[in-house]
Every structure is written in structure tokens, then in C-alpha cells.
């Protein structure tokens, strides 16, 4: 049976009805059309589906959409306006932290959750925060450098 779901995504209020078995990822992608958040492994292992829920990074593929009732969610689409990147996004672009780009939204959201909580993380703290996000292209070197550059602005 469908249930009412009120939530705020990227600063905008949404009111929809969803069935209990829908994941937050499905609702974000299919109902809200925000496909920047990716479906990778579907089992909470790759981190491509990471969004920020009430300030905390979560894997939206393992969360029921109804768990987001009344919560505030940020996805990759909420980080920038047209032509105006968030500094973290700019760091990813300028430091070459992107290859195929599939893990990028999840990496950025996981990094943002960290930086919001801890603006000056150590290298180890960054690694701990990103240890739930897989990247098969970059070898993580440039991702780490991009997040580090935010931790210690040049």
C-alpha cells in the first residue's frame, strides 16, 4: 500500500506517495528524476548511491524511501547551480579526480559529508570517510588530493 512521503531534496519540498518496498535511491532517481545519484552494485558496497541525509552520508540503495520522511536530503544535483560549481566539485575537476565519472557523485557526497562535519580532516580521516566508495578508474590518488586540497586550502 502506498504511503505518503514528504521530504526535502536539495532545498525543495516534495510530497509523493510511494510503496514501502521502494528504496530511497529508486525514489530519487525514478520519481524525482535526479539521476546524478547512481545505482552501482545495489548492495551498499560501491557507494555510488551516496547521498547526504540530515547531514550524514548514507547509501540510498539500502535505505527504504519511507525512512526519509521529513528528512533533508542533498544529492549531487544540489551542490551547484548552472555554471557555478561547489569548491569541492571544482577541486575534483581541476585535480583530475574524475575518469569514467560513475563513482564521482557518490565520492563527492561522501567527501562533502565529511568536510561539513570536519572542515580540516587529516589524510587518514579522508580515507576513512571514503572507505565505502569504490573507484575502479583512478587509483584514488587524485580523489584523495582533491579532498585534501579542500581540507588545506592552497
Amino acid at each position: 500500500m502506498k504511503r505518503q512521503l514528504e521530504l526535502k531534496v536539495n532545498g525543495e519540498d516534495y510530497s509523493l506517495t510511494v510503496e514501502p518496498h521502494r528504496t530511497l535511491l529508486e525514489v530519487i532517481r525514478n520519481d524525482l528524476g535526479l539521476t546524478g545519484t547512481k545505482l552501482g552494485c545495489g548492495g551498499g558496497e560501491c557507494g555510488a548511491c551516496t547521498v547526504i541525509l540530515d547531514g550524514k552520508a548514507v547509501k540510498s540503495c539500502l535505505m527504504l524511501a519511507l525512512d526519509a520522511r521529513g528528512k533533508e536530503i542533498w544529492t549531487i544535483e544540489g551542490l551547484s547551480r548552472v555554471g557555478d560549481l561547489h569548491p569541492l566539485q571544482r577541486a575534483f575537476v581541476e585535480r583530475g579526480a574524475i575518469q569514467c565519472g560513475f563513482c564521482t557523485p557518490g565520492m563527492i557526497m561522501a567527501s562533502k559529508a565529511l568536510l561539513d562535519e570536519n572542515p580540516h580532516p587529516s589524510e587518514q580521516e579522508i580515507k576513512d570517510a571514503l572507505a565505502g566508495n569504490l573507484c575502479r578508474c583512478t587509483g584514488y590518488v587524485k580523489i584523495l588530493e582533491a579532498v585534501l586540497s579542500m581540507a588545506k586550502p592552497d
Binding site: 500500500m1 504511503r3 510503496e19 514501502p20 518496498h21 521502494r22 528504496t23 545495489g42 548492495g43 551498499g44 558496497e45 557507494g47 551516496t50 541525509l53 550524514k56 552520508a57 548514507v58 547509501k59 540503495c61 539500502l62 535505505m63 527504504l64 519511507l66 525512512d67 561522501a110 559529508a113 565529511l114 580515507k127 576513512d128 570517510a129 572507505a131 565505502g132 566508495n133
Partner: protein, 292 residues
């Protein structure tokens, strides 16, 4: 994922009622990280999920004179970052840090981890070693069960139908005690323990004599295993390298380790020896250094 009904009790009593009413067809849902994954793979098919997230009264981490009290809804991440946990029982926070990833710890709960009863559960060994208890509630009332008695088989617990794990009670470490949890994995992060070794030592600070000890192993059998014969070797003895080696060897022969895709039984046996040895060394160091 297959369809199910989400039931949302407003009180524990209502939750008990729903659980007894729907019996086997219902499962308690809190963090859900493990359950949703299995449901997505169509390996578990509950018709009803009893969502206890609305029971805000279960969401706490606090202390009393005996120890930490952790409510069923406290997330792993809250425990990991709790100043209270860090100050009063550091080893618990250290252990939680090794579970899954930040995203998983932000959602998953300690109670959920225990109830799922994965043989490789990280909290189980150290909670047993620390002598933690569980407050289990049902319509019949409450009961207190040592964590040590909680795990009955692969993914099976002592919870009866209609019961909910309400609180985890972890006693503080007495003075001159040290505890540690060491997790051996094949990957640094996001991996299950090939061997998880929890060691707690109570020593006489003057002469390093072991007053009592608990050594508990995870990831090696259908449930966490306490190696009592090995513990026995420590009792009343001065803890030194020779004894530690002997105890570690005894621990490795006391268990009949499982074999799976992560490691062979033989390797597990060898690692039990290594990690019990390292655990004892570290626990002794902590007992003497006053690390909580």
C-alpha cells in the same frame, strides 16, 4: 525488492503485539542495512516489517555507575563518535570503527548488528569479553541476558518470537583491566573478519598476575566462541611472553574453525594464534597503561 507491509508501532507494547500477531512473517526493522540487502537479493521475504524507528525512547547512549547503556536505535556511527564512549570505553568505539563504511555506520545500529547474528559480527566478541548484557523486552516483561548467551547458531539468536532487543549494557572496565578487539581482514576497510579476537584482562598491576580473562573469537565458527581452556591457562599466572605464546596456541586448538571463501580453516587456526597473542599483548599493555 518484493512487496511488504510496513508496520509502525508507536510504543513498544504495540510492537510486541504486532510481532506476536504476525509471527514468522514479520521482522523488526531498525537500521535495515543488512536486512534490505538480503531482501533485495530475494533471499529473505518478510511480509511485514515492524519499523521501530519511531520509538524514540530507544535512541540513546548513556552511562550509569555500572557502565554504558546503549539503546536499540543508537547508530554505529553515534557510538563510534560518542565522547562518552571514547572517554569511558574506548575499545567499543575502536571496534565499531572497523564495521562497514561510514555510510553503513550512519544507518546501522549496534542492536541490529547483534540481532542479525552474522558469525563474523565485530561487536559480538568484544561485548562478550567485556561481560555485556542485553535487555530484552516483550509483552511478558523484560529479561537480562548476557551477550555470551545470545548467539545460538549461524544468524540465530536467543530472541523468542515477540521479543525485542531494547538495550545493550556494557560494564566499564575495572581498574587494572585492559581490553582490545583485533580484526584480521584481507582488505583494510569494508571487510568481514577472517578472525576477530577480543581479549579482556584483569591483572594485578604490581606483578602482572592475571586475575581473570576473557578471550572471544569471531568469524571462526557459527557463533562467537569463548576459548575457556585458554583463559584457564592465564588464571593466577604472571603474564609474560612465554605464557602468552602458550595461551595463543591453546586458543587455536580449542576451536574447529570454519572454511569459507575468505579463508581456509587452517589459515583461520593460525590466525587465531597470532591474534590472540597480539590481543593479549595489547590488552596487558592497556591494563598497565590504564587505557579504558
Amino acid at each position: 525488492m518484493e512487496r511488504f507491509e510496513l508496520l509502525e508501532p508507536n510504543s513498544l507494547d504495540e510492537a510486541f503485539r504486532l510481532l506476536s500477531e504476525y509471527g514468522d512473517e514479520a521482522r523488526v526493522y531498525a537500521g535495515g542495512t543488512a536486512l534490505v540487502k538480503l531482501m533485495k537479493k530475494r533471499l529473505v521475504h518478510p511480509s511485514y516489517l515492524v519499523n521501530i524507528k519511531g520509538l524514540k525512547g530507544l535512541h540513546y547512549i548513556r552511562e550509569d555507575e555500572e557502565g554504558l547503556k546503549i539503546g536499540a536505535l543508537a547508530t554505529l556511527r553515534e557510538i563510534e563518535t560518542s565522547p562518552l564512549v571514547r572517554q569511558r570505553l574506548k575499545v567499543v568505539g575502536e571496534m565499531v570503527h572497523t564495521i562497514g563504511s561510514v555510510q553503513i555506520r550512519n544507518v546501522g545500529t549496534l542492536a541490529g548488528n547483534l540481532c542479525f547474528a552474522d558469525p563474523a559480527s565485530d561487536p559480538a566478541p568484544i561485548l562478550i569479553a567485556l561481560g555485556a548484557n542485553l535487555k530484552i523486552a516483550s509483552s511478558e516483561g523484560e529479561r537480562i541476558l548476557p551477550v555470551e548467551k545470545f548467539f545460538t547458531d549461524f544468524y540465530e539468536t536467543a530472541l523468542s518470537q515477540g521479543e525485542i532487543l531494547e538495550e545493550i549494557q556494557i560494564p566499564f572496565l575495572p581498574k587494572d583491566s585492559g581490553a582490545v578487539y583485533l580484526k584480521h581482514t584481507m582488505r583494510v576497510a569494508f571487510d568481514l573478519a577472517v578472525v576477530g579476537a577480543a581479549v579482556k584482562l584483569d591483572v594485578n598491576a604490581k606483578d602482572d598476575v592475571c586475575m581473570s580473562s576473557k578471550i572471544v573469537l569471531g568469524g571462526v565458527a557459527s557463533t562467537p566462541v569463548r576459548v575457556k581452556k585458554a583463559e584457564e591457562l592465564l588464571k593466577g599466572k604472571v603474564i609474560n611472553d612465554t605464557l602468552i605464546t602458550k595461551v595463543a596456541m591453546a586458543a587455536s586448538t580449542e576451536v574447529d574453525p570454519i572454511q569459507d571463501v575468505r579463508a581456509s580453516a587452517e589459515y583461520r587456526r593460525e590466525m587465531i594464534e597470532v591474534f590472540v597473542e597480539r590481543g593479549l599483548q595489547k590488552a596487558l599493555e592497556r591494563a598497565k597503561g590504564g587505557v579504558l
